[in-house]
């Protein structure tokens, strides 16, 4: 795994911005209170900007954003890497 791996980028971003240094890849960041309603906006902006994708209406499924693993899988689908 290297620095440009999407999952690493997602983890680095979440750990830095939420100031939670030890997130697990499968940890539910919504249920555990790591993402609040204000940060949710920034998470959407980060995913769109960093991976050059647009989150469409049909993508607005909580399951796509619930954890580092879920976001990485979503990004892979949107970028055709999966």
């Amino acid at each position: 795994m290297n620095a440009v791996d999407p999952k690493s980028q997602i983890r680095d971003y979440l750990e830095r911005v939420t100031r939670h240094p030890d997130l697990r890849d499968d940890q539910n960041i919504f249920d555990d209170g790591i993402v609040n309603s204000i940060f949710a906006v920034e998470l959407v902006v980060f995913i769109e900007d960093r991976f050059n994708i647009t989150i469409e209406n049909d993508d607005l499924d909580f399951a796509n954003f619930a954890s580092i693993d879920a976001i990485a899988a979503f990004v892979a689908r949107k970028t055709g890497a999966a």
Partner: protein, 284 residues
């Protein structure tokens, strides 16, 4: 109930939030700013904020984000406000920027249009003096993020009419907002107190008494506040905090509102908080 037509002047963070809130409630707001770039940024902010709100609520919205977004029309032309019932003014916290806007609104808006000043600190009576009809001007201090905050500070000026107050309260009811009414005074209640606390928190940081994490941690863990003062400053925007302190210092002629050195340095460096990606804490 028929929804009134609302113009929103100023497409910064708070203006975009007001427009988004109106659109989510079924209004068709007209967003006006002299800067095309600000309007473009506001469009993008509204689109992502609507999406994120749906995500956080864990539900598909009753109205799709695209549909909500489409209700907002954005323009650089003030004459688009020639038929509105209300204008909510959200320009930069600077009297000399706001003065020509009120003169322009006087020229283009219907005479019975209510002008709502969404200001952090500037007295409403002073803003109302820039118009020919001060009775129709009222202050409403919306909190950020506007769609998520359901209480506003309402500030009638000395000459604000009872009819204006009633109409403004009616609009807030349609937006699902509770109004707390206070008298007109610099900074009203909220920012007269909050800005002093933020300035002192920055001074604590500047003196090395504690780091940002500790300052905010004390307020959250010891007092049960959802955010500490430095996180709150990052959310408001450090440029707005600085301007607010300067308005308070000049209005009260009281040096206790003198902005501290670190705050001025951070604003000069463009570290403005969440909206710039970094402030006292990182956001990008």
């Amino acid at each position: 109930m028929t929804k009134p037509t609302v113009g929103v002047v100023g497409a910064g963070v708070i203006g975009a939030g007001v427009a988004q809130d109106l659109a989510q409630r079924g209004f068709r707001p007209i967003l006006v700013d002299v800067s095309e770039a600000a309007l473009d940024a506001a469009r993008e902010r509204i689109r992502t904020s609507v999406s994120a709100a749906c995500l956080f609520a864990r539900s598909k919205p009753a109205d799709p984000p695209d549909e909500i977004f489409a209700r907002v029309s954005a323009t650089t032309r003030y004459d688009a406000l020639s038929g509105v019932d209300f204008v909510i003014e959200n320009a930069t916290e600077d009297v000399e920027i706001k003065r020509p806007i009120y003169e322009m609104l006087d020229a283009v808006c219907p005479k019975d249009c209510v002008l709502i000043a969404n200001t952090s600190c500037i007295p409403i009576t002073r803003l109302a003096s820039f118009t020919k009809w001060p009775a129709r001007v009222i202050g409403i201090h919306f909190m950020n993020p506007v769609p998520m905050m359901h209480t506003v500070e309402m500030v009638p000026g000395v000459e604000t009419s009872g009819r204006t107050i009633d109409k403004a309260k009616g609009l807030m009811e349609q937006l699902g907002k509770t109004c707390i009414v206070v008298k007109d005074s610099p900074g009203f209640v909220s920012n007269r107190i909050l800005m002093l606390a933020i300035n002192e928190a920055v001074r604590v940081l500047e003196e090395g008494v504690a780091d940002a994490e500790s300052v905010d941690g004390i307020f959250k863990s010891c007092f049960g506040h959802p955010m500490g003062p430095l996180e709150t400053a990052d959310l408001i925007g450090l440029d707005t905090v600085l301007l607010s302190l300067e308005v308070l210092r000049d209005s009260f002629d009281d040096a206790k509102y003198q902005p501290c050195r670190l705050l001025k340095e951070m604003v000069a460096e463009g570290r403005l908080g969440r909206k710039s990606g970094a402030g006292f804490h990182p956001y990008s």
